[in-house]
């Protein structure tokens, strides 16, 4: 299915290759490099590139292209999802998935690829099972290994496959029994000139970190479960129970896992937590333009909007920007024309603003489109959809676990047109 995998960095060098069925020469990547050259932006390379004898399917993550070589017909979504899974696994193991991290851990990378695919077919991709086969490198473990001479590999076979519950191994023991759940929502929105919402959508996940002894059986219920559209669960969740009672009932995997992901789409009302007042104008003939931005909170249910970062791609004719932020710092890159303003917290009493002028190239015609503004932000202790966990109960074990729930809202692709 997947014949070979090439890792290509941003400057177009192959820095890692792995072959499963037979060795495919590096020259097959020439077709990919051609496409890379044709694309004006690095992310414009089409995901599927047909060549006379192969198909090349690539994904771009963390400025690295993961190029899979395919020799026969395959379902495209299958390969794309698999490549993303590979990247997720690397990230899980090394914390970051950069060229340097991969090169440093080249041995673990090969071990992982060897276990994830055999003869080109996906084999073990569950993080839980992989971690039992190959232990992730940590600074502590590296030190311990150097002293004791022990290794990164589990000496035992993953027992999970033999237990009744395939995602949980038997004989788990902890002194502190704890279960933490993070409700993280990302809001994607496009806001038009006048401040009304064009599209808005919430993509939410509940990530869990469960460290419980034995075989606990958990149930989690929500205050308002009807809110969720398009829910997808970890295989451990009993689907029947959810359909009937809207309660999540499951035997959790050990450690970190994603319990469920969901969408709240534009059909429901999506609250927009920030607003932008803007006044950006360029006059015909003059070499100056006015630039004013003011940010303010809106529908935040009293929570503070923090880590706010505003960025905007100014038109090509802009030479420089001379602006004055009321708080935070701003930078303008005259080469890429990227303006970014690190705002920090939004104080509702004193709204942050960025005012000043931009200078245009002399003689250039007035830019015909105003820039789009991208906003990043975080809101702690709030799920913007209003989702709330009602209670968490544990059955099947005698001890009393420590339970915790955290909410967070982040901006996903949040843009304001001007």
């Amino acid at each position: 299915m997947i014949h070979s995998l090439f890792l290509v960095n941003a400057s177009g060098d192959i820095f890692l290759e792995k072959h499963w069925k037979s060795v495919v020469s590096r020259s097959v990547c020439d077709y990919f490099f051609e496409a890379l050259e044709r694309a004006t932006e690095p992310e414009n390379v089409p995901p599927v590139i047909p060549t006379p004898h192969h198909y090349l399917i690539n994904v771009l993550r963390h400025r690295i292209y993961f190029v899979a070589v395919i020799q026969s017909e395959v379902p495209p979504l299958f390969v794309i999802e698999f490549l993303h899974r590979v990247v997720d696994t690397f990230q899980d193991y090394f914390g970051v998935c950069t060229e340097a991290a991969i090169k440093d851990n080249v041995v673990v990378v090969y071990e992982l690829l060897e276990e994830m695919l055999d003869n080109g077919f996906p084999l073990a991709t569950e993080s839980n099972i992989l971690k039992e086969l190959i232990k992730p490198p940590t600074i502590l473990r590296t030190v311990v290994n150097t002293i004791t001479g022990s290794t990164n590999v589990g000496e035992q076979l993953p027992t999970g496959q033999l237990s009744v519950v395939p995602w949980r191994r038997t004989g788990v023991k902890y002194t502190n029994n704890e279960a933490y759940f993070d409700v993280v929502e990302e809001i994607d929105a496009i806001i038009d000139k006048s401040g009304s919402t064009i599209t808005a959508e919430i993509q939410g996940v509940i990530d869990a970190c469960v460290k419980l002894t034995g075989m606990p059986d958990l149930t989690l219920s929500f205050m308002n479960p009807r809110l969720l559209d398009d829910v997808s669960f970890h295989p451990c969740v009993r689907f029947k129970r959810w359909e009937a009672e809207r309660i999540l009932s499951f035997i959790p995997p050990d450690g970190n896992f994603r319990l469920l992901s969901y969408h709240v789409s534009s059909q429901n009302l999506v609250a927009i937590p920030v607003y932008v007042k803007h006044n950006i104008s360029f006059r015909e003939g003059s070499s100056q333009g006015r630039f004013e931005l003011t940010l303010g909170p809106k529908q935040t249910m009293g929570k503070v909007v923090e880590s706010v970062l505003v960025s905007s791609q100014l038109p090509r004719g802009v030479l420089n920007a001379n602006l004055n932020p009321s708080q935070g710092t701003y930078t303008f890159d005259p080469v890429t024309k990227l303006l970014s303003w690190d705002v920090g917290k939004i104080n509702p009493q004193k709204l942050p603003s960025l005012k000043g002028s931009v200078s245009l190239q002399a003689g250039a015609s007035k830019p015909d489109e105003n820039p789009t503004i991208n906003i990043q932000f975080k809101i702690q202790q709030l799920a913007i959809s209003g989702l709330k966990v009602n209670r968490l109960d544990m059955y099947g074990e005698k001890y009393k676990p420590f339970k915790g729930i955290k909410y967070m809202t982040k901006a996903g692709k949040f843009q304001v047109r001007t």
Binding site: L77, L83, E114, T151
Partner: protein, 736 residues
């Protein structure tokens, strides 16, 4: 990558690895091995260390073993004789008490790509198939496939195949799927693994134990199974129902494909499946990864060919984000055009309008073309927007708008007056050759409605010397002649200058010949010219009125969830057609030994008058796609060779009876081929004419016609063949 000092490095490593002190210190020893692997992955040739590395494989440390195995797999094919030494160690490991070591050793042994391997690995593989640890069985099952690929030309080992079929009942789900994968490879020449009723039902029952990758693959394998009865079919479908909304897009899509395939006789079931999958598909279109989003969009586009209304309420999901890559934006615009209806048209147009000023000219032009497509139904609003765009005075926008106007006037003549008004008011003209051609065509075709037309054209004629593109010159010639026919007084003088220049000074033969043609035509008299130049044309506007046809699901179901739609039809299909059509021409002939002749070409057929029509032109891509999708309904040997007339004559003659020629082999090449299409009594007919290489050198081969049709209608085919036959015969008798 032999770089400076590489020999030194290898020598140093060799010394270190063979040093007994190093060998005694486990940690240092392993560090050196890691170093070797690191050099190897950087492309340094460390094959000289093979002997030392083989020695290092005798260890209890699993990581060290893995590293050494990795090394051996890389260099085994270069040093087959040395690799044989390693095999003993590996075979010993295959009997290790630790299942992980057994699995590792077996997997790596199978990965050695060198001749003579099979005799060493066969016994451990067979033992592995019966191992009690599932990890080893998984490896052994795939090992069977690897062993087969090492000796591709030998006979298939029946006992192993039987063993694999038996292992399909293994309790471990991964072993089950690996069995399918291995059998598929081993039995490739015999058509792959056989899915009979017991296997199919067994797989269906195991579906929920499998991981998502395996589910997707099993669903693809199940495409081969045909249920015997409707009851069985519905049992299968209800088992699979939950997977339609799987959390993994690839599983949901694979399930949908299976549904469409199995329920091809039950359109209601298909429609219901499409409806239920629309949610996961939409979610994929909004996924965080752009590649997934792109794949989702391509699938949505396919579904929309049959169910254009399915996503209508979600049109906002297809608005482009600012930072999205262009391949996504193009797809989204194509989808938006299809989703337009009375309620959302204003919003969609507003959205597309904002893309028209995008920084990338290609994107801006695509957006303008998209507005043009919508204008075929909602002309007024679109014309306002397009006119507004002209005021921006950007070259690429002006050019794109002009081209859009041309297409619009062609498809929807009722908008002509408004377009002409706008063109007249527009001050600056397009600068690139496509835009110029479009403007000239508009001026020529509708010169009587644009009062300033002759003056604009005069400007072009005066600038002829600096014009580089011959296509523009030809368009200018045609347009001037047309203009001359409706406004002779204003045009006569400049037409004379134009013809003079093109005939006397032009170096491009094509342009000169065109000018000569018009010149001689004009010599025959104005009325004669008018008859030729402004004769009746086909009218594509009808197809717009009836709206876009909903295509049957079967047209695209076969390519659903494959790579084709993602890589762009043109590229992949061209190669497919070239490779498929060359040999298949003769092969199909043998398969259908003229049996259909008897059934169809009986002379008693009362000449039922069927009326053929040209209808809207078919693009090459659509033709190729349909040709590949449809089956040959009729094949007939015509009994005479192809007409020896020039290809233009043939084309013109066929056009006369409303048969359009799409493509043909140039000149006298053998085998000679031509592709034709036409429409009649509500069906579309595609045909291929083929002249094989003659068997005897002096005799001429006979023409064979193969017909495909959609939807089927035997009567029309009969009529079509008769017409085609008579045309070709006439040409044969009377070479013009």
């Amino acid at each position: 990558m032999p770089y400076f000092g590489s020999e030194e490095t290898v020598k140093e490593l060799k010394r270190a690895l063979s040093n007994p002190h190093v060998q005694a210190d486990r940690l240092r020893y392993k560090n050196y091995i890691t170093k070797v692997i690191r050099y190897m992955t950087q492309g340094l040739d460390v094959s000289a260390l093979f002997m030392d590395m083989v020695k290092a494989s005798a260890t209890v440390d699993i990581v060290q073993k893995k590293l050494v195995y990795l090394y051996m797999c890389t260099y085994a094919s270069d040093k087959p004789d040395l690799a044989l030494l390693a095999i003993n160690t590996l075979r010993k490991d295959c009997a290790d008490p630790n299942p992980m070591v057994r699995g590792l050793a077996l997997r790596n042994m199978c990965n050695f790509r060198m001749p003579g391997m099979p005799e060493y690995i066969e016994q451990p593989i067979v033992a592995g198939l019966r191992d009690k640890a599932s990890y080893v069985r998984r490896v052994a099952v795939l090992g069977c496939a690897k062993m087969h690929s090492l000796q591709p030309n030998t006979d298939i080992d029946g006992s192993i195949v039987n063993e694999l079929y038996a292992l399909l009942r293994d309790p471990d789900p991964v072993v089950v799927v690996n069995c399918l994968r291995a059998l598929e490879e081993i039995l490739k020449d015999e058509g792959g693994v056989v899915i009979n009723k017991p296997i199919a039902h067994h797989l269906l029952n195991r579906m929920k134990d499998l991981d998502s990758w395996a589910q997707s693959e099993v669903l693809t394998f199940l495409l081969r199974y045909r249920p015997r009865s409707d009851d069985e079919l519905f049992d299968i479908l209800s088992l699979l129902d939950a997977f339609l909304q799987s959390a993994h897009a690839h599983v949901a899509v694979a399930t949908l494909r299976l549904f469409l395939h199995l329920a091809s006789a039950h359109p209601a079931v298909q429609a219901d499946a499409l409806l239920r999958t629309s949610a996961p598909l939409l979610a994929t279109c909004g996924a965080a990864s752009r590649e997934l989003r792109f794949a989702g969009l391509c699938h949505v586009q396919q579904v929309m060919r049959s169910q254009p209304g399915l996503f209508a309420t979600h049109y906002k999901r297809f608005f482009c984000g600012y930072s999205e890559p262009s391949y996504i934006k193009f797809r989204k615009m194509e989808i938006l055009v299809e989703l337009v209806n009375d309620e959302n048209v204003a919003l969609v147009l507003e959205e597309l309008r904002s893309y028209c000023t995008d920084v990338s000219p290609e994107l801006a032009q695509a957006a303008i073309a998209a507005i043009g497509r919508i204008a075929r139904t909602y002309s007024e609003k679109c014309l306002d927007i397009l006119t507004g765009l002209l005021a921006l005075k950007q070259d690429h926008i002006t050019s794109a708008v002009t081209q859009t106007f041309r297409d619009l006037v062609w498809f929807c003549p009722q908008s002509t007056a408004a377009v002409c008004q706008t063109v007249e008011a527009c001050v600056d003209n397009p600068q690139d050759s496509e835009g110029k051609q479009a403007l000239l065509w508009l001026l020529g075709e509708h010169g009587e409605q644009i009062s300033s037309a002759p003056y604009v054209m005069e400007g072009y004629i005066d600038g002829l010397k600096t014009e580089l593109s011959s296509a523009v010159k030809m368009e200018l010639l045609s347009a001037s002649v047309k203009m001359f026919l409706c406004r002779p007084a204003e045009t006569q003088d400049m037409l004379g200058r134009l013809l003079h220049y093109c005939i006397e000074e032009e170096s491009d033969m094509c342009v000169r010949d065109r000018a000569l043609l018009y010149y001689r035509l004009l010599q025959r008299g104005v009325e004669e010219t008018r008859k030729v130049v402004t004769g009746p044309k086909s009218d594509p506007s009808m197809s717009v009125l009836t709206g876009r046809q909903e295509e049957p699901i079967s047209l695209w179901a076969s390519t659903f969830n494959t790579l084709g739609p993602l890589s762009g039809w043109d590229l992949c299909l061209q190669t497919a057609v070239i490779s498929a059509s060359e040999p298949s021409g003769s092969a199909e002939n043998e398969l259908l030994p003229g049996s259909t002749d008897v059934a169809l070409s009986s002379p008693n057929d009362t000449q039922e008058e069927i009326s053929l029509s040209l209808g809207p032109p078919l693009s090459h891509e659509t033709f190729e796609k349909m040709w590949l999708d449809l089956e040959i309904l009729h094949r007939q040997t015509l009994g005479f060779p192809r007409p020896k007339t020039a290809s233009d004559t043939l084309q013109a003659a066929l056009q006369l009876v409303k048969i359009q020629t799409l493509a043909f082999t140039p000149g006298d090449a053998v085998p000679w081929k031509a592709y034709l299409y036409t429409r009649g009594t509500g069906t579309l007919i595609l045909a291929e004419l083929l002249q094989e290489v003659p068997e005897a050198p002096d005799s001429e081969g006979s023409l064979v016609v193969s017909v495909k049709q959609h939807p089927k209608n035997q009567q029309t085919i009969r009529g079509f063949v008769l017409i085609l036959k008579s045309v070709l015969q006439t040409l044969n008798v009377d070479p013009l």
